[in-house]
């Protein structure tokens, strides 16, 4: 991880190698660490060669969906008839996730370089980096680094002196979770209310300002320079599990655990080792009860299930959950699962953009039911009602916010039903 404590021997520091080194934030410091070589190399290749290299590496989107990055880039039109845009998703609003924040805080030039390479590969001249509004420190760091990059001619009208225009704008979010959804982000950049758009059309056909657009996560883009410099084969060999999940991933561990923080792991790493070895296991005298492995939107695992889960895209799906954004939220036996579920549902009810009926009304209703159960006034039929609502909130809306609210509720009720039933039979619990 590198910051605040030194990397664990089982980590594979690639993106996080220079975390904690203040010097790495400057242009000179970054170049001393091998920075901007990849961009220079990329600008000497054709667009297709860059895309092919990323395709060959097996790099997949680190924002949550895990879509193959090279494939996504290849959806952009070959002929540039309209402006192409690259959007870097630095909104990082998924509860439990704080990896992009650290990348921007410590290695801003890694992101700028990754963006520049990606922009070149998709034929874009303009990149928007959409930074979460609450990220004041990363914003300052990125602002300084981008100004420096412009001053050094790394980006701008004649990037790296190779005659290519690569412009970059920082765009600050205003605090809406939903603006981390790619189409809502495009609306937000356009100055509209951050509501997700109906797909199709997909962003690669009609995205930002109606032009072909690619949206990539910070961590994804930051990995691109390493792939170009070290080769796709090098990246592909970083794999402990399924060969479809390659490279390293930053896992943000938080909750009731001894050493919370970011850990960079080769994909395929056992979740058990992350929890007990790297992150130090439970707090003294406690046992783990539940783990959410990929940010608040994915189904909850019991501690037993977590023990056998492998941290890659396929391994998490096999365990009935998703790798998501890699925000590992740990709950020990002091946690009240009913309260935690309510807290999650309340978050989604607060953040629903209010477009789709199921989401607008369903997230709020779900929260009300859970609050009533917590108050000791739940009714026997409430659990079935919650499951039925969750069913109607899944797969029926424009974006997946309501699915994200339903998934933890369903898994919590399925896996921790006795805790819910205790509230229903004996009323309000006192600590």
């Amino acid at each position: 991880m590198g910051y605040p404590h030194p990397p664990h021997p089982k980590e594979t520091p690639v993106l996080s190698k220079h975390f904690g080194e203040a010097d790495a934030r400057t242009y000179d410091g970054w170049v001393r660490r091998g920075g901007y070589k990849a961009l220079e190399q990329a600008l000497g290749m054709t667009r297709e060669q860059v895309v092919d290299a990323v395709k060959a590496s097996g790099l997949r989107g680190r924002g949550g969906a895990g879509f193959p990055t090279g494939l996504k880039w290849s959806f952009m039109p070959k002929e540039v008839t309209k402006p192409h845009y690259l959007c870097c998703n630095a909104d990082e609003s998924e509860p439990g996730t704080f990896k992009d924040r650290e990348i921007m805080r410590w290695t801003p030039h890694a992101l700028i370089e990754g963006c520049a390479i990606a922009a070149y590969a998709i034929g874009a001249e303009v990149t928007y980096i959409y930074i979460r509004g609450e990220f004041t420190d990363p914003w300052r760091v990125m602002e300084t680094a981008l100004a420096e990059a412009y001053a050094k001619g790394v980006v701008g009208p004649n990037a790296m002196g190779k005659g290519k225009r690569i412009d970059m704008h920082l765009h600050r979010g205003a605090g809406a979770y939903i603006c981390g959804e790619e189409t809502a982000m495009m609306n937000s950049i356009e100055g509209k209310r951050g509501n997700p758009r109906i797909k199709p059309p997909f962003p690669a056909q009609s995205g930002l300002f109606g032009c072909p657009t690619t949206i990539n996560n910070v961590e994804t883009l930051a990995a691109v320079p390493h792939i170009l410099v070290n080769g796709a084969d090098w990246y592909k060999t970083m794999c402990l599990g399924n060969p479809k999940s390659t490279g390293t991933k930053l896992l943000s561990v938080c909750g009731t655990i001894a050493r919370p923080g970011n850990y960079e792991l080769t994909l395929g790493f056992p979740l058990k080792d992350l929890l007990y070895d790297l992150a130090g296991g439970p707090l003294p005298g406690r046992r783990f009860k539940a783990v959410i492995p990929g940010g608040s939107s994915v189904p909850i695992l019991t501690a037993e299930e977590a023990d056998s889960t492998v941290l890659d895209y396929e391994g998490c799906v096999a365990a009935g959950t998703m790798l998501g954004s890699g925000g590992v939220i740990v709950m020990d036996d002091s946690c009240d699962m009913v309260y935690q579920t309510m807290r999650l549902a309340a978050f989604y009810a607060h953040e629903s953009c209010a477009q789709c009926t199921q989401c607008r009304e369903g997230t709020a209703w779900t929260t009300k039911i859970l609050q009533r159960i917590l108050a000791g006034q739940g009714q026997a039929r409430d659990l079935d009602l919650l499951l039925d609502l969750a069913d109607q909130m899944t797969g029926k809306t424009i974006c997946v916010l309501s699915d994200s609210c339903a998934a933890p509720v369903v898994s919590a009720i399925r896996k921790f039903r006795p805790e819910f039933e205790r509230y229903l039979t004996t009323g309000r619990q006192t600590a």
Partner: protein, 480 residues
Amino acid sequence: MSDLVKLTVEGREVEVPKGTMVLEAAKLAGILVPHYCYHPSLPVAGVCRMCLVEIEKQPKLAASCATPVAEGMVVKVQTAPAREARQAVLEFLLINHPLDCPICDQAGECELQDYVFQEGRSATRYDEYAKRFNPVEEFGDDVLYVPNRCILCTRCVRFMEHVADEAVLNVSERGDRAYIGIDEGHRLNHPWAGNVVDLCPVGSLISKDFLHKARAWDLDKTPSVCTGCTQGCNVTLETRDNTVLRVRPRTNERINRHFICDEGRLGYPWMNRADRLEAPMVRQDGRLVATDWERAFAAAARLAGGGSARGAVALVSPCASNEALAAVAALLTRLGGTGAFRVREGAEAPLAGIPNLALRKERAPNVHGALAAGMSRDWAGVAGRAAGAGLVIALDESLEGVALGSAGVLYLGTVLSDPARAHAAVVLPCCNAAEEEGSFTNRDGVVQAYWQAKAAPGMARPAAWVLSEIAERAPAGATA
């Protein structure tokens, strides 16, 4: 015909142009998929999620308003998953809906009522929780917003933004706290703003003019044509107890799509005027005396015959029907004379998002019908000859400001104007546009029929009929 796509909706095969949405294709197959946010004249939002249908070989239910058709597509509306999904949407919509139908203007023509009745649950599972409450807001001079009834379909927001091109409405707040907001310092007073009341599928946006006036099911609806300007928007006159209570747009893709302007919408009270001419009158000893139609016709025929030597002048209203204007033209041909009209003017107010749709400068429905009947725009020239003419025929024209001299004046109208009271020899009561059948010719030359919506007062008759009766009695060959 390669740009046609064949698909099956509920077992019915239908062929539609490429790019058509499934919901529209289903309509063509005769199946209405329940929906709220979709409207054919607005951009697709796909937010109410009511129009979910099952499409074979697609893993998830599809919003039929936002799914383009594809060759060989098999669409199923009434399968269990689709019905359950729509039932759930209805339940979600109702949890914060006040169910104040007994005092809601929309009741009876409410899409929420209709679809809940059609496929909703019989009882809610949202018990013991408080409903969302927000106070009623006045959006504009005629539009009230009742946020509690709102289902956030955003039709009004999209109409103002994309059709009226004056984006003053928005969705404010998020989640279940959301409501329709109006930009600070702005009012919903666009000349076409009233359409949001029609677009609103529930009773959330309501017209102050119609507020608590009538229950929807008590209204009789008559197809008509707006008399407000030369555009010729198709409207429905809604009446109860022989009174026009509301005017609403009637769909015509070529002329006004689904919209009418506020001037046309709110300009109907003249149709209900109480100070109407109810009996024919003939001047005797300097006074107008009520009489029956036979005597009045005889007097009118004498007037026409007597005046023909010095020629006739017709001063007509561009609000008269084509039929009445043609009858005047025929009389003028026989008697020898000319006709003219004058028209009230106002500011033109286009509806930005619809080509060739505006509240037109000339505020009368039949300017082009009058021109076609040979009436002149040279009002000053023709009216100037009135004093010297043997006969002046006034068709629904007040004669205000016209020097009449000693001419014999034959006045056909709905109300008795002051000049007519002073000068007319014969006064004949006529129907207004809500009381007769007829046609208008709009600015593009489209002839459109309108129908009788209410009974005429007293003995008033359609002007075209009255004129034809006079023509029958006027001396043949009276031509000068």
